[in-house]
């Protein structure tokens, strides 16, 4: 295992090293040391990709949270075991299905003559198909479905660890169900909510197959931008610089997320 970790570190180190070398067109060999790759990142095209990624991550995390909470709540609290296992199986199944398969499913869903447009037209909500494929909205919709299972699992884990006696006490003291939820259940479930949000945000940031397949090159996020440089143009040095840039953003966001989780965790314990 030490060897495996060493290989991983070596790979990441090379990424770092390549990012400071200059690119010789048409060759995989690299030239002299330079900072030019990093200067090139300050270009509206690449900064635009950062913005695009952030917008997508924000919407995916928010909507996934809103949809996952009720599902997780019923999964943990329903008195019927049939309801619980139905929710569990239907949530787990897509979780174990690969991203390529699920992204392909969304290509079928989102097309102009796909399931979603047909459904919306047949119930009279729209008259002409909405263009969703190759659009940001389509990528967001697909990523929400892909992120839902893990969010449900993490929130459900948090909810199942809540001591039910606290809720019963609040109820006995005359609090309405809404008040019990607002003042007892919701704050105590926050660690799970935060953990889920961090994971989903990180996944959407790393998401690659979905924006590539559903965006079709027209939804330019950070991972697609690296892919273009490495496998498209073969410009390893610049691709590596973009990679290091993404890594720094990723680690910074993870750090912020962990910080928020810690503060909230402390407040819950008090």
């Amino acid at each position: 295992m030490v060897l495996l970790v060493a290989i991983l570190c070596a790979g990441l180190f090379l990424l770092f090293q390549y990012s400071f070398t200059s690119y010789i067109p048409g060759s995989l060999r690299v030239g002299a040391l330079t900072l030019a790759n990093y200067q090139r990142i300050i270009d509206p095209l690449y900064l635009g990709a950062v913005w695009e990624t952030m917008v997508i991550c924000f919407w995916v995390t928010t909507v996934t949270l809103v949809l996952a909470y009720p599902l997780a709540y019923v999964l943990v609290r329903s008195s019927s075991s049939v309801v619980r296992s139905t929710i569990l199986v239907l949530t787990i199944l897509p979780f174990f299905l690969g991203v390529v398969v699920r992204s392909y499913a969304w290509m079928l869903m989102l097309g102009n003559r796909g399931f979603l447009n047909r459904l919306l037209i047949s119930i009279g909500l729209i008259e002409t198909p909405i263009q969703l494929l190759f659009r940001r909205a389509g990528v967001i919709l697909a990523l929400i479905q892909i992120s839902l299972p893990i969010m449900v699992i993490l929130i459900a884990t948090g909810l199942s660890h809540i001591d039910r006696r606290l809720e019963r006490t609040a109820q006995t003291l005359g609090a309405s169900p809404i008040k019990v939820f607002r003042h007892v259940t919701w704050p105590l479930s926050l660690p799970g909510v935060i953990a889920g949000s961090i994971v989903v945000f990180g996944w959407s940031l790393s998401a690659f197959a979905t924006p590539l397949m559903i965006g079709g090159g027209r939804v330019y996020v950070m991972t697609v931008m690296i892919y273009d440089q490495i496998l498209g143009s073969g410009n390893y040095p610049f691709g590596a610089a973009l990679g290091v840039f993404v890594l720094v953003i990723d680690l910074a966001l993870l750090g912020v997320g962990q910080g928020i989780a810690k503060v909230i965790g402390r407040r819950v314990r008090q």
Binding site: L8, L97, G98, F115, T223
Partner: protein, 272 residues
């Protein structure tokens, strides 16, 4: 009276909401299955006529056959390597005094959160330095790195649940360390090993982002073949493969249920 009506209404709304969310989760898979029997090559819903031609196309195309074999080989080997490396690693992390074991533990889990694209690019660069671009070695290393976190987690959970007194008893009765491991520790780790193997296989068979960067034509795994096909053609052959994936996934989930319940594996049991 009003409060009760309100509660009743709230209950129904939540039930409806849950059903809608579950539909949102499952409909894409259903659409795939239906489309795989579509007679027309255009992505159209609902399909016009039913046919098995995409399944036949699948059987005839050599790239899918190769991808399928590669996926099985890479998945199997990388699971085995990850399991043996993870076993040593887990015991060292849990009991050992190896310096820097927390850092190694964190690094081994890091592939779970690092963008796959970055790991792929890093390994591609490493392979091009070492002269093994597109070879099975780098593909297998990539997959081992990606499945290691799952194996390690499952093994560590099992290790935490082991009663160390049993191991001490074995030693007092004169068992050698090797015998103690084989007859006492290993059997108690079985649930962890089982869950680890399943998670590792599922992850490897579906791995895409890292693979795309490190495979060559001859070492393509199935998800990469699927991706390349969707970039070139639009017909429902991929729906046919995906349907097979869905079937396999259902089998895995059923297996997990038998292995002691999914709720337990995911640590969902109710407390208090």
């Amino acid at each position: 009276m009003i409060a009760r009506l309100f509660r009743h209404w709230g209950r129904n709304t939540i039930a409806l909401l849950v059903i809608l969310i579950l539909l949102f989760l499952s409909i894409p898979s259903l659409v795939i299955v239906v489309s795989s029997f579509n007679a027309s090559p255009v992505l159209d819903f609902p399909p016009r006529g039913l046919a098995l031609r995409w399944y036949l196309n699948l059987a005839e195309r050599p790239d899918f056959r190769l991808g399928f074999i590669n996926t099985l080989v890479v998945g199997g080997i990388s699971t085995l390597i990850a399991l043996s490396a993870g076993m040593g690693g887990a015991i060292a992390i849990f009991r050992g005094s190896l310096p820097g074991r927390q850092v190694i533990h964190a690094m081994a889990l890091s592939t779970l959160v690092l963008p796959g694209v970055l790991i792929g690019v890093g390994l591609l660069m490493l392979a091009s330095k070492a002269g093994g671009v597109g070879g099975f070695t780098v593909v297998i290393i990539a997959h081992v790195l990606m499945v290691l976190p799952f194996v390690l987690r499952s093994l560590l959970v099992s290790l935490e649940n082991i009663d160390e007194n049993l191991e001490k008893a074995a030693m007092i009765f004169g068992a050698s360390p090797l015998k103690k491991f084989y007859y006492v520790t290993l059997p108690m780790l079985k649930p962890g090993i089982g869950a680890g193997i399943l998670f590792a296989l599922v992850t490897s068979v579906n791995e895409f982002a890292v693979s795309l960067f490190v495979v060559a034509r001859s070492t393509q795994t199935l998800p990469v073949v699927l991706f390349n096909y969707t970039m070139a053609y639009v017909d429902p052959t991929i729906a046919a493969v995906s349907t097979l994936y869905i079937l396999a996934t259902i089998l895995v989930v059923l297996l997990m249920q038998r292995l002691g319940g999914m709720a337990q594996i995911l640590r969902l049991e109710e407390r208090g």
